[in-house]
C-alpha cells in the first residue's frame, strides 16, 4: 500500500506544470540563470531520466529516508516530525469533540419525539454541509472580533486550539450523527430492546446501556475515514488560523512543487491511516462482542 502511494504521488506531482528545479530556487518565475538551473539539476539529480529518479526515490524510501526538501533544504523526516504533532492533536481533539456532539445529538433526536427528530435531522444535514473555510471565517468574526473570547490565530496554547477544533468537528459530527441516528432507530425496534423494556428498564437506560453500543459501531468504522477527512480539512483550517502543521506544509509544498515534501506528507498520512484502521478494528471488537465470538469459534 505504501509503495502504491509513493508511486502515485511521484508521478502525479510531475503531471502538474512547473519545474522542480525552480522549487529549489524560490518558486516558479524565479528568473534563475542557466548556470544556476543546471547547478541545481545536477545537485538534486533532476537531470537524470524519470525512471532513474523514481527508482532512486523508492530506494531511499525503502531505507526510511524521505529525502531533503527542495525548498527548505532540510531533511523531510525532520520537517514533518516537527509538524506532525500539531495536526494529530488538532485531528484527535476534533474527532473526540465530533463524537461527543454526535452522541448527544442522536440521543436527543431519537428521544424527544417528532419535533426533536426533524430538528435533529436538520442540524445534522446543515452541519455536515458546512464548508470549513466558511465556518472558520464566521467563527473568527463572532468569537474573536465581536466577542473577543478566543484569539483569531493560533497562540500555541489551549485557547488557540478551540476555534480550529470546532471548525473541524462540527461538520464531522453532522456525518457521524446521521449514521448513528439511523442505527439507533433500527436498534430500538429490535427484539432485545423490547425484552429490556419488558424487564422495566427506563428509556434513558435502554439507550445508554444497550442501543448506543450498537449505534456506535458504524460510527467507529467511519472514524478511519473521518481521520482522512480531518487531515484534508487541516489544510484549510491550518491556513486560516495560521497554525503550524502537516496541512499547511502540504499546501506550501504543492505550490512550490517540492516533490520530496509532498511525497513525505502523503506517506505519513498513509501510515496514520493504516494505524487508524487497526485502531478502529480493535475498537469495533470492544463495542461488538459478536466479532470476538466469531474469532473464538
Amino acid at each position: 500500500m505504501l509503495w502504491a502511494v509513493a508511486t502515485l504521488t511521484f508521478f502525479a506531482i510531475r503531471l502538474i506544470p512547473g519545474d522542480p528545479a525552480e522549487a529549489v530556487l524560490g518558486g516558479p518565475g524565479s528568473q534563475a540563470s542557466e548556470e544556476t538551473l543546471e547547478q541545481v539539476r545536477r545537485d538534486y539529480g533532476l537531470d537524470q531520466p524519470l525512471v532513474a529518479q523514481y527508482l532512486q526515490s523508492l530506494g531511499r524510501l525503502a531505507t526510511g529516508d524521505l529525502g531533503s526538501s527542495y525548498a527548505l533544504k532540510v531533511p523531510v523526516g525532520e520537517l514533518l516530525a516537527a509538524q506532525l504533532g500539531g495536526t494529530i492533536l488538532l485531528a484527535v481533539v476534533a474527532l473526540a469533540l465530533a463524537w461527543l456532539i454526535a452522541i448527544g445529538l442522536s440521543l436527543w433526536s431519537t428521544t424527544g419525539g417528532r419535533v426533536a427528530a426533524s430538528v435533529g435531522q436538520g442540524i445534522e444535514l446543515t452541519s455536515a454541509a458546512l464548508p470549513h473555510f466558511w465556518l472558520a471565517t464566521v467563527l473568527i468574526a463572532v468569537f474573536s472580533t465581536q466577542l473577543g473570547w478566543f484569539p483569531p490565530v493560533s497562540t500555541g496554547d489551549l485557547r488557540g486550539l478551540i476555534l480550529p477544533v470546532v471548525t473541524l468537528a462540527l461538520p464531522l459530527s453532522g456525518f457521524l450523527a446521521q449514521v448513528m441516528r439511523g442505527t439507533l432507530l433500527d436498534t430500538l425496534d429490535s427484539p432485545f430492546i423490547l425484552s429490556a423494556r419488558a424487564r422495566g428498564e427506563g428509556e434513558i437506560g435502554i439507550r445508554l446501556r444497550h442501543a448506543l453500543r450498537h449505534a456506535a459501531i458504524p460510527g467507529i468504522s467511519l472514524s478511519g475515514w473521518a481521520l482522512g477527512y480531518l487531515i484534508s480539512g487541516a489544510v484549510v483550517v491550518e491556513t486560516i488560523f495560521a497554525r503550524p502543521g502537516l496541512g499547511r506544509t502540504l499546501l506550501q509544498a504543492v505550490t512550490l512543487r517540492d516533490v520530496p515534501v509532498v511525497t513525505g506528507v502523503v506517506i505519513v498520512v498513509a501510515v496514520v491511516y493504516i494505524l487508524m484502521t487497526v485502531v478502529t478494528d480493535a475498537a469495533s471488537r470492544l463495542a461488538d462482542p459478536r466479532l470476538r465470538l466469531e474469532e473464538t469459534r
Binding site: 502538474i16 506544470p17 512547473g18 519545474d19 528545479a21 525552480e22 529549489v24 530556487l25 524560490g26 518558486g27 516558479p28 518565475g29 524565479s30 528568473q31 534563475a32 540563470s33 542557466e34 548556470e35 544556476t36 538551473l37 543546471e38 547547478q39 541545481v40 525548498a71 527548505l72 533544504k73 532540510v74 520537517l79 516537527a82 509538524q83 471565517t137 473568527i140 468574526a141 474573536s144 472580533t145 473577543g148 484569539p151 483569531p152 490565530v153 497562540t155 500555541g156 496554547d157 485557547r159 491556513t239 486560516i240 488560523f241 495560521a242 503550524p244 502543521g245 499547511r248 506544509t249 506550501q252 505550490t255 512550490l256 512543487r257
Partner: protein, 551 residues
C-alpha cells in the same frame, strides 16, 4: 509577550493618558488615530504578521523574493540606500566614485562596523558577498541579475572596495541598495547554505534568533548597532527588544488578529480591509507603493491580433477602468498612466493617450479589418472571432484586481472584443506565458530604479531564459527603443538618463503596448501601540529600526 489576550486598546489607553481622549477613540468618533507618544521609548517585542508566503531561505542572496526582502530589511545593511527624493545615500559605504569610462567604481566603507557574530566589516567582506551572489551554487536570482555587469570585485584596502564592470551601469547604485544585496558575515556564509539559510548574519538592527518553520521567526535587537542608513531618525541600537515575525496567510484572519491586538503590524492589507480600518479609526495605514514598474496590462504585440497597433489602441480606448478601480479598491489605489511606479523620479505619464472613446475604438477596429460581428456581438475577420486570451495568476493578482479584469472583460465586449480569462496558479500561468498562449497579461515587477524598463521592454527580453522566464510580455521590439534603453543604462549623468527614459516611456505608451493600472499596491496596517514605522524608500519594505511601542 502576546500570549495572553488583553485587547491592545488597553495599551492605547495607558498611552493616551487622558480618559476622555481614549473614550473618543473607543466610540470611534475620531477619524485619525491619536499618536500615542512623540518620545521614543525602548523595550517591548513587536509582532509582525505577514501574508506573504514564508520564505524557504532567510538568506536574501538565495533566490531573492519580496518575503525575503521584508525580513532582510530588519537584519542586513546594504552598501547604499535611497532616500524619499530618489537620491542614493550612504549606508555601509560612505562615499563612492566612478571612473571616467564608467567601468570601475570605488566604494569607501565604514571602518567601525562589526557583524553580529563579531566578524569585522571590511572590503574583503564586500568581495566575499559579491562573489557569493555571483556563484551559481548560491542559487541567487535577483542579486545575480543585479550584478549582471560586474566582472570582478576586489579589496583595494581595508576600507576601499573596487567593482570592475564589463559595461557602464547607471543602475549599479540602485541595484546595490536593494535588500537582496544586503551584506552578510563572511564567516556566516562560510558555514554553508543550509545553516546560512536558517540564520544568516548581518550588521543590521536585528538578529535572527530562531526560525520555527511554518510558525514564526524571532528577531532580537542588535545592541551594538551603529550603522543605520543616512536617512534614519535616530542613531545607535533599535528601540524594540525584538520582533516576533509570524506568517498568517489568510487576509481576514490577519486583520482579525490585528484588531484583537494579537499582532501589531500586518502586511498585504486588502482594499476592503483598508476601508474597514479607516472606518474603525484606531489603525494607521502605511501606503508604500513598490518601485520599478507600475501594475499594468500588457498587450502581446508579438502575434495577431495585437501585432496591429490599431487593434491595441482600440482595446485601450474601449475598456473603462477608472470607475472599477475606485469602487473595487475603495479608493486605496490611484490610477496610473505610466509604465513606471510613481515612486520613480524618472516616471513619465500621459493620460491623454488613455481617454475612453468607444466610437474611436470601433472606427479603429473597422479600419483594421475587424468590421463584421457575429451573432454574439463579437467582431470577426476571415471567420475568426476577435478573442483575447487573458491568463491571470491568482498568486499575483489580488481578488480586487481579478474583479477589475472581469470588468474589463465586460466593457471590452461593447467594442466587440471577446476577453477569455483563465485563472491559473503560478506554475500554470508561467507555462501559458512560456507557450505564448496569451494576448493580454498582467505581471508585477519590483526593481529599484528606471532600469526596469530595459528588462520589461528591451527586445532581448522576448527570448525566454532557460527557466522559461521572460520579462518582455508585451513582446515590444523597436530598435530605437532598444537603443534608448541601452544608452540610458550606461550614461552616468542623471538628467541625461531621465531624459532618455522619458523618451523610451513615450515610445512605449504611444505604441499602446501597455495599459497602466496603478502602482504595485503595498499597504500595511499598524496597530495603535506602534510609532515610528516607515518604509525604506528602496523597495518599500517597512523598517522597524526607528519604531517603538507605547506601553
Amino acid at each position: 509577550m502576546h500570549s495572553a489576550l488583553p485587547p491592545r486598546s488597553r495599551r492605547g489607553l495607558a498611552a493616551v493618558g487622558a480618559l476622555a481622549a481614549a473614550a473618543l477613540v473607543l466610540t470611534g468618533c475620531q477619524a485619525t488615530p491619536t499618536p500615542p507618544s512623540d518620545t521614543p521609548t525602548s523595550g517591548g517585542t513587536l509582532t509582525y504578521a505577514s501574508g506573504d508566503a514564508e520564505p524557504t531561505c532567510l538568506d536574501p542572496h538565495v533566490g531573492g523574493n519580496y518575503p525575503q526582502a521584508l525580513l532582510a530589511t530588519q537584519v542586513f545593511d546594504s552598501l547604499v540606500s535611497r532616500n524619499a527624493d530618489g537620491e542614493i545615500i550612504p549606508w555601509l559605504a560612505t562615499a563612492w566614485e566612478v571612473a571616467e569610462d564608467g567601468l570601475s567604481w570605488e566604494f569607501t566603507l565604514r571602518d567601525d562596523v562589526t557583524f553580529t557574530d563579531g566578524t569585522p566589516f571590511n572590503a574583503e567582506a564586500v568581495v566575499v558577498n559579491m562573489n557569493h551572489l555571483q556563484d551559481p551554487a548560491t542559487e541567487s536570482s535577483t542579486g545575480y541579475l543585479a550584478l549582471g555587469k560586474v566582472s570582478a570585485v576586489e579589496a583595494v584596502s581595508e576600507t576601499v572596495a573596487r567593482f570592475e564592470l564589463t559595461q557602464p551601469d547607471s543602475a549599479l547604485l540602485e541595484s546595490l541598495a536593494q535588500p537582496w544585496l544586503g551584506i552578510e558575515s563572511p564567516a556566516g556564509i562560510a558555514r554553508g547554505m543550509e545553516e546560512n539559510c536558517e540564520s544568516p548574519i548581518g550588521t543590521g538592527p536585528f538578529v535572527i534568533d530562531e526560525w520555527v518553520k511554518q510558525d514564526h521567526v524571532s528577531l532580537v535587537r542588535n545592541d551594538d548597532y551603529v550603522s543605520p542608513p543616512a536617512d534614519a531618525s535616530h542613531e545607535g541600537a533599535a528601540y524594540l527588544d525584538g520582533i516576533d515575525w509570524r506568517f498568517i496567510p489568510d487576509s481576514a484572519s490577519r486583520y482579525a488578529a490585528l484588531q484583537s491586538g494579537q499582532v501589531d503590524v500586518i502586511d498585504n492589507a486588502q482594499p476592503d480591509t483598508l476601508a474597514a480600518a479607516e472606518e474603525a479609526g484606531t489603525l494607521t495605514e502605511l501606503d508604500a507603493p513598490r518601485p520599478g514598474a507600475s501594475n499594468r496590462i500588457e498587450l502581446n504585440s508579438g502575434k495577431a491580433p495585437f501585432d496591429d497597433v490599431r487593434v491595441r489602441e482600440a482595446f485601450v480606448r474601449a475598456v473603462d477602468i477608472n470607475d472599477g478601480i475606485d469602487s473595487l479598491f475603495f479608493g486605496s489605489a490611484t490610477r496610473s498612466y505610466s509604465p513606471l511606479s510613481s515612486v520613480e523620479v524618472a516616471a513619465y505619464s500621459d493620460d491623454s493617450l488613455f481617454d475612453v472613446d468607444l466610437d474611436r475604438a470601433n472606427e479603429l477596429l473597422d479600419e483594421a479589418g475587424w468590421s463584421e460581428r457575429d451573432a454574439d456581438g463579437y467582431r470577426v475577420k476571415d471567420g475568426e472571432r476577435l478573442t483575447l486570451d487573458f491568463p491571470v495568476s491568482t498568486n499575483q493578482s489580488i481578488p480586487a484586481e481579478q474583479s477589475l479584469f472581469e470588468q474589463i472583460q465586460a466593457t471590452a465586449k461593447d467594442a466587440g472584443f471577446e476577453v477569455s480569462i483563465s485563472l491559473l496558479d503560478l506554475s500554470g500561468w508561467y507555462t501559458a506565458l512560456g507557450a505564448n498562449e496569451y494576448d493580454i497579461v498582467s505581471a508585477p515587477y519590483t526593481k529599484l530604479g528606471p532600469d526596469v524598463l530595459r528588462i520589461l521592454f528591451h527586445s532581448s527580453g522576448i527570448t525566454p531564459a532557460p527557466s522559461g522566464y521572460f520579462a518582455n510580455h508585451a513582446q515590444v521590439s523597436i530598435p530605437t527603443l532598444d537603443e534608448l534603453l541601452t544608452r540610458a543604462s550606461e550614461v552616468t549623468d542623471e538628467t541625461e538618463r531621465d531624459e532618455l527614459y522619458a523618451d523610451a516611456q513615450r515610445l512605449i505608451l504611444e505604441g499602446y503596448y501597455v495599459l497602466p493600472l496603478y502602482d504595485q499596491q503595498n499597504h500595511f496596517l499598524i496597530g495603535p501601540a506602534v510609532s515610528g514605522t516607515r518604509a525604506l524608500p528602496t523597495v518599500s519594505t517597512p523598517t522597524f529600526y526607528d519604531a517603538w511601542l507605547t506601553d
